[in-house]
Amino acid sequence: MKAKDLMMPINEYLRPETTLKEAVNLLRIVRTGEEKVRVKALPVLDPAGKLIGMLTMSDILRAVHPSYLNMMNLGNFTWDGMIEEMAKKAADRRVSEVMTKTEVLTVRPNDSLMECVDHMLKQCVERVPVVDADGKAVGMIYERDVFFAVVKAMIDDNYSFKS
């Protein structure tokens, strides 16, 4: 199976200049796939449709988590209400400042599913964007869809009684 056989079309995306406030609102309402699961990330496309990044839930948490907390063990000294304050401050930041840049983390439609899994495991991501030769985003591979493909392969091999 190839990436193009499993990818989901990209219906919703973000622009780099969009504010986080608008972006999270979009993340909140967009659903995808047959099970209509809520998306946890959206691709960021430039006006030409070229993929320039991904905005994930973790990116948004990182945007409200001040960098100095990473430098030392200061988690004990934070206060109630701090995360709300930080969220209000981060609301006006641009998607481009916060997103994960995806220069390497993409696959081509004809790449194998194993390559998709390789990316997912090594980079700890749950989805891999599929781009064509011009860098245009054409679809998205989700971890759960790959998982179902794996389930199908296992069951088909081991249980010959199943049609």
Binding site: M72, N73, N76, F77, W79, M82
Partner: protein, 456 residues
């Protein structure tokens, strides 16, 4: 040019190797200043060129105390880095900073003053960059809690770390380098530099009071956030902390006594690092060692070899003749020129390559002044001593002049930018330059009074 200087100048042979070494030196320093290539990369490459082009033999570059890598400096730095890397996860630095903020009762100017003093004192014993990296994150947290602008706090801490670092042999790399080349011990630095640094620090805090005293205000209810913090929560590993503090105490006592015991400072530091590694019960030292700042250490190694090359061909001697020419052999004038020139030079260029060049220059100058002396007699000539102190004071305090003058400044500027409150070059200079000039004026009076008027 005086007749005498002209004759000595002729002793420097300006042949092929002289010009090759000079070219490597000038190009490497030019690249370090313009930051076209990372300073460590160009320093390693320049050092390799010095050896491969035959300016310096590999034997000299690796093993000569006069021309090669100064392992005393490298081992002192690396040992102190190891000690800090082991201590960091214990939470002692977080404890110290939170405790300080509570001691200030969450009052904004008191926090600035106490953080500056704590930074200066810690910097006197640890590397400035390390100190700033340890205190700045807590400062950012406290400023956030109190809804204060972080910029004045970050700048004042960087300046305080450069002031405090000047006080001791181990406080700042220029002092480590000067101590090694001039064979000065820890107590000599305490005796000669600490008194003036205490005065500089007091003047600094008073000046901050004038600048910021009335400008910083905080809402009463926000202060409760700071007062509610429990500094004891910071301690993550009390057992390791006790061991670390014990070893640190042994190490500092070792530094105090090293002159008397005839140990080099690097020996003391290496013993401290080795002992702490042993008693910490660490089974896998990879992490501790990997976290040492190898980029800085290799920058030093390369630089030592490059300087060795230009010393070997006589460029530094030629420069020292020129300096004596300008000051007409008047040593008070020389020490003043060294202090002020070092201050302004260090404000704009890295003080490490600067001091690496000045050390052999001062030694060459001394050789011309007292050709019959050698060794410690020459290095510790009573008339030469104020020049070493002037170099240390100028080069260390000069770093406060601009945002690029010292590594600690570069670190806080980077942190402020990450926090979304960038500090422009001009803004840093607005605070840094006047405070730097204030401190150098105090040092000028001190050197003149102590070494030329009272002669004590």
């Amino acid at each position: 040019m005086t007749q005498e200087a002209a004759t000595t100048a002729k002793e420097v042979v300006m042949n092929g190797p002289f010009w090759i070494a000079t070219a490597i030196f000038v190009i490497v320093y030019g690249i370090i200043v313009t930051e076209k290539i990372h300073k460590t990369i160009i320093s390693i490459f320049g050092a390799a060129l010095m050896i491969i082009l035959g300016i310096l033999t590999q034997e000299n570059a690796f093993h000569s105390t006069d021309l090669g890598v100064d392992w005393n400096v490298i081992f002192l730095l690396v040992s102190m880095m190891i000690i800090i890397n082991i201590m960091k996860p214990t939470g002692c630095f977080e404890y110290l900073a939170i405790k300080s903020a509570k001691l200030a009762k969450g009052r904004p100017f008191m926090i600035m003053a106490i953080f500056s003093i704590v930074t200066a004192v810690v910097s006197a014993f640890l590397d400035n960059v390390t100190t700033v990296l340890l205190i700045a994150p807590v400062t950012l947290l406290i400023c956030q809690a109190l809804e204060l602008d972080v910029v004045p706090y970050l700048i004042t801490e960087a300046l305080a770390s450069n002031i405090g670092g000047t006080a001791t042999l181990i406080g700042d790399p220029p002092n480590i380098m000067i101590a090694s080349k001039a064979q000065l011990d820890f107590m000599q630095f305490i005796y000669h530099l600490s008194p003036v640094i205490i005065i500089v620090l007091i003047a600094y805090v008073i000046t901050l009071k004038f600048i910021f005293g009335k400008r910083l205000t905080v809402k009463e209810e926000l202060r409760q956030r700071v007062m509610a913090m429990n500094e004891n929560d910071a301690i993550k590993d009390p057992v390791l902390l006790k061991k670390s503090l014990a070893v640190l105490a042994v190490t500092i006592i070792g530094f105090v006594l090293h002159g008397m015991l005839h140990y080099e400072p690097a020996t003391i530091a290496l013993f401290g690092a080795g002992l702490l590694l042993l008693v910490s019960g660490n089974k896998e030292p990879h992490h501790i060692l990997a976290e040492c700042e190898w980029t800085t250490l290799f920058f030093f190694m390369g630089l030592f070899i490059i300087i060795g090359g230009v010393v070997n061909v006589g460029l530094i001697k030629w420069m020292s003749i020129k300096v004596l020419d300008i000051t007409q052999g008047n040593l008070f004038a020389t020490s003043m020129v060294v202090m002020w020139f070092s201050a302004f030079a260090s404000a704009f260029i890295d003080n490490i390559p600067y001091v690496a060049t000045m050390n052999p220059l001062i030694i060459d100058m001394a050789r011309q002044l007292w050709p019959n002396l050698s060794g410690v007699e020459l290095l510790h000539h009573p008339e030469l001593m104020p020049i070493w102190w002037s170099l240390a004071l100028g080069a260390c305090l000069g770093g406060n002049g601009t945002a690029i003058g010292a590594s600690a400044n570069v670190i806080v500027v980077g942190m402020a930018e990450k926090m979304g409150s960038p500090i422009s070059f001009k803004k840093f200079m607005l605070y840094g330059m006047p405070l730097m000039i204030e401190s150098v004026i105090i040092c000028t009076v001190y050197v003149w009074l102590r070494y030329y008027l009272l002669k004590i």
